[in-house]
Amino acid sequence: MYGNAYIDPNEKFSSEEETPELVAAFQARIDAGEKIEPQDWMPAMYRKQLIRMIEQHAHSEIIGSLPEGTWITRAPGFRRKLALMAKVQDEVGHAQLLYSAAETLGKSREDMMNDLITGKSKYSNIFNYPALTWADSAVIAWLVDAGAIVNQLANSKGSYGPYCRALERICYEESFHLKYGHDNVVHLATGTKKQREMVQAAMTRWWTPLMHFFGPSDKASVHSDTLMRWKVKMASNDAMRQQFMDMYIPKIWDLGLTLPDPLLKKNIETGLWDYTEPDWEEFKRVINGDGPCNAERLAVRRMAEENGKWVARAINNEEAEHVRPFA
């Protein structure tokens, strides 16, 4: 599951050693639809942005496994428990795939993990909100994964080969998550009064984070243009948000659920959804560390890293006798 990479608007975007010829040849390959592979020449900023993007994506997968993961031990009944375990396991598997993809660009998993737990690198903002009830986990599985698919399907058509290949597999798995989440929400929305109340409350809680999910409007960003030309970023935040609303608002309304935005309606003239801008100050606050769960999420990750260090020390001991893998 993943939203969007956060781009620093003040970042310097080119380097003197990159001659116009090299950059032009690189651009020509991308324009011709070729994939860039790890051993190929690439502008430093292309590498840097991709590392950041893939790394943030990987972090989002493992941090994202936490809010839903807390519901594995509480899932009601075998069917839900088995499905949720498999889903969350997929997310951790996505992190593994993505860290490997990012490593092809020259940053080690250890360094990435370190940057995560020291707060240096970001992850999707949405996971800094709590999953307060079982219904929250259902809404996450349906709509956060749906949002992630919109984003990732676009990015899977991007220019960096290892990332695209990882995303294709990830999207395939996410589509099952979405079905699981939808089925779960449908059961709650058509269930007992208590279940309907739970899912409505969760939907109301998650609407703002979902609107934040694709990031602020990026129409005016110069960096965005470069990244789109390089096929690092494949669609604007606004376009993805609109696509998400178009696909899912009717489905949410079909279930008799309401959304906490009185302006929400499809504009017949523009073909786009009208909506109230979510509070972008809140978005900035949360992404900079001051959300309801930032501290808790990082503390859990830090604890896992800390507690697991002895295992890493033992398996990395060069003098130790190593077993041959079975497969």
Binding site: I62, S65, T73, Q195, G308, A312
Partner: protein, 252 residues
């Protein structure tokens, strides 16, 4: 106690062990020492959970309530699991040693049950045996690796083994009606199973550079099979049933 009751008792203890160890393994989500171990423990947890559901379905065919009701509405005294599986996950060293000790017992249990005279059980045992084989391979690879890794990892594994050993022996608590099952070739009995288990796990642990606790200190921790549990089980069950119990008649 008649044959059916004896059979139910066997199925309950197996199903409850699988459910509770599966639940415990699933608690490693997000906390594994490396991502690959998060994933592995989740895989095994899913297998255990699926196996327990299968076994509850066999009980359902013998007149017990359906799997969800049985798993999600009983309290601790109605459970038949061993103390070993109830213990909290602790550190990775303890969870790994427990996984090793438990899964080799399961592996041998299912191997024996493949030829059970009770056909429905023999059938599922064949399927489970294939799954648990991989769990034992995983356990043995890691125990070997960490037993030989460095001094720190070896001593952690040794301490966990010392702590877990008597609990592990407690898995083989004899059932009150076991003779009946043995006579009818339904199950070989816990004593025979324990003997096979010792034959397998002792050499593997020794190969992993670990020392088996002195035989004079062996004192199996019994009670789980008759509903006496550690203080850890009821909180686990309360958590597990938290959502289900909001409305057990609802379709979740």
């Amino acid at each position: 106690m008649n044959n059916i009751d004896a059979l139910k008792e066997l199925l309950y203890k197996m199903a409850d062990d699988q459910l509770i160890i599966g639940h415990r393994n699933s608690e490693w989500n997000g906390l594994g020492p490396i991502l690959e171990e998060d994933i592995a423990f989740s895989s095994m947890a899913q297998d255990k959970m699926g196996q327990s559901e299968h076994l509850y379905n066999l009980l359902n065919q013998l007149g017990e309530a359906d799997a969800d009701t049985v798993a999600f509405t009983r309290n601790a005294p109605q459970f038949h699991c061993s103390h070993l599986v109830e213990l909290p996950i602790g550190g990775y060293d303890f969870s790994l040693i427990r996984h090793f000790l438990f899964d080799f017992a399961e592996y041998l249990r299912f191997e024996a049950l493949k030829t059970s005279a009770y056909q429905p059980l023999a059938q599922v045992a064949k399927k489970f045996f294939g799954e648990v084989k991989y769990h034992t391979m995983h356990a043995n690879t890691w125990v070997y690796q960490l037993g030989h890794g460095n001094e720190e990892s070896n001593s952690k594994m040794q301490e966990s083994l010392n702590f877990a050993w008597n609990y592990a022996l407690g898995m083989f608590e004899p059932g009150p009606a076991e003779e009946m099952l043995i006579n009818e070739n339904i199950f070989i009995g816990e004593e025979a199973l324990q003997a096979k288990w010792l034959e397998v796990v002792i050499p593997l642990l020794e190969k992993s550079n670990l020392v088996i606790p002195e035989q004079s200190s062996w004192a199996p921790i019994y009670g789980g099979r008759i509903g006496n549990h550690t203080a850890h089980l009821q909180p686990l069950l309360s958590e597990m049933t938290e959502v289900y119990s909001i409305d057990p008649s609802a379709d979740w």
